[in-house]
Symmetry: C2
Subunit: 271 residues, 2 copies
């Protein structure tokens, strides 16, 4: 394996850029090839079969770009498709759910953990499954929050409507006295302020993106695959629709140079 090959990252749309941001922070010498499936977004309420087919197709595309690893930045794809797709994949694949579960288990004091995410992520039950392995005594309470993504897309991040929706979605979890809530969808960190306000300061919000980047770094280090930094990274971003919207979002999320560059490599591609 050539250590200077890029890392593939994919998501249903733009949300996975919150994971890319963490990877860029922790592994600034690595090159990213990103695919955002903006022509078929969202994944959250579609079936396991459909999400698996989409994920397989995108993984095949990333492999054609000679990536040394694939990060599934989307929670729904991590929940539904990772296990199946990685079987046929010649390079290591990482999802966001295992890292998210690990962080939640390390964070909780009372063993009561809340998980919020899309319908698919919640229905899959994968967060509980991992938490049962890591921390058998913890109890998991979960809630699908399908309006959070459209509220983020509408830009109502600090808004009375969003606060009301948040209160309604989190009510059951808070009644169960969770002390930790996993933000199990890449869009949710953008609602951190409102969610923290609803949950109260005693509750820790876990963003799986940070731990995912840590696991990626460890995995690459163990194998001696860390980029040697001999040349500057030349990231590539692919979307299946809506380049302008993506560019705007990328600028608001990605750090420094990647965000401000007018000429980020961005291509619209039909798989």
């Amino acid at each position: 394996m050539e250590r200077n090959l890029p890392i593939g990252v994919f998501d249903s749309g733009v949300g996975g850029l919150t994971v890319v941001k963490e990877i860029m922070n922790q592994l600034p010498q690595e090159t990213i090839v990103y695919f955002g499936d903006t022509a078929r977004v969202p994944y959250g309420d579609k079936s396991k079969e459909t999400i698996t087919a989409y994920s397989r197709q995108i993984t095949r595309f990333l492999l054609s770009k000679k990536v040394k690893a694939v990060v599934v930045a989307c929670n729904t794809a991590s929940a539904y498709a990772l296990e199946t797709v990685q079987k046929g994949c010649p390079v290591p694949m990482l999802g966001v759910i295992k890292p998210g579960a690990k962080t939640a288990a390390a964070s909780t004091k009372n063993g009561r953990i809340g998980v919020i995410g899309t319908e698919g992520t919640i229905r899959s039950g994968l967060y509980e499954e991992y938490l049962r392995e890591i921390s058998p005594k913890s109890r998991v309470f979960k809630k699908a929050c399908p309006l959070f993504v459209p509220l983020v897309e509408e830009g109502w991040l600090d808004d009375e409507v969003t606060r009301q929706v948040s209160r309604r979605y989190l009510a059951e979890l808070l009644e169960q006295q969770v002390d930790t809530i996993v933000l199990g969808c890449t869009h949710y960190p953008l609602l951190r302020k409102v969610i923290q306000e609803t949950a109260g300061d005693a509750v820790t919000l876990v963003n799986p993106a940070y731990e995912t980047a840590c696991e990626l770094r460890e995995m690459l280090a163990e194998r001696g695959w860390l980029n040697d930094g001999s040349s500057a990274p030349a990231h590539q971003f692919y979307v299946s629709d809506g380049a302008e919207k993506f560019r705007k979002f990328a600028r608001s999320i990605l750090p420094g140079d990647a965000a401000t560059a007018e000429d980020i490599f961005l291509k619209v591609l039909t798989l």
Copy 2:
């Protein structure tokens, strides 16, 4: 043209069933072949190019089912794709926007018309374009309402959050003293109660589905293509994902037999 051939209807998902319902009411002897693109839903915020490609693909599928006409039940596809796709189509195609504009023009007394819809439908400007032709003196005010579809999908039809969102979205239109509002998205009739409450009783809400079915009936009658009713209609429903969700929605929307039938013909199909 064989008059007893079926009518093709397509939509981005389940919303187009509100149009199917009107067609079944007005043309009970016709057979419907429906395609709901639930694997790629929603269309509302995707690009013209992508929506045109999807619409062309679905029209090709419907033609393979030997339909005598194609109804584009989706406002976004009617706005973005109809004009292009019908050029290569050997059978007549009808959208929902022209009928919607016609009804709005007939309904307004003060010539001030509001249009609400998805981002794509509003951005296309097609409702104004038709209204300018039909009723050059009328003034059109428009507003994209991207949260309405997710609110319907969440089932919050008669809900305080929905009322608050509705008040915010409609505020500008109401300030402009519109006396008619076009429900320019097939999901919106399901929010009729809340929207009417927000707008007040003096405002007429226009659902393009009814007039679309009228135009379809007229078009078929003119050509002598009305089904002679010699055999009972055997509707076919195709979706690209999520058969169970579709079945549930179909039961809540479609009239009588079509709704209660456990054995409606429903098939999941990848185009």
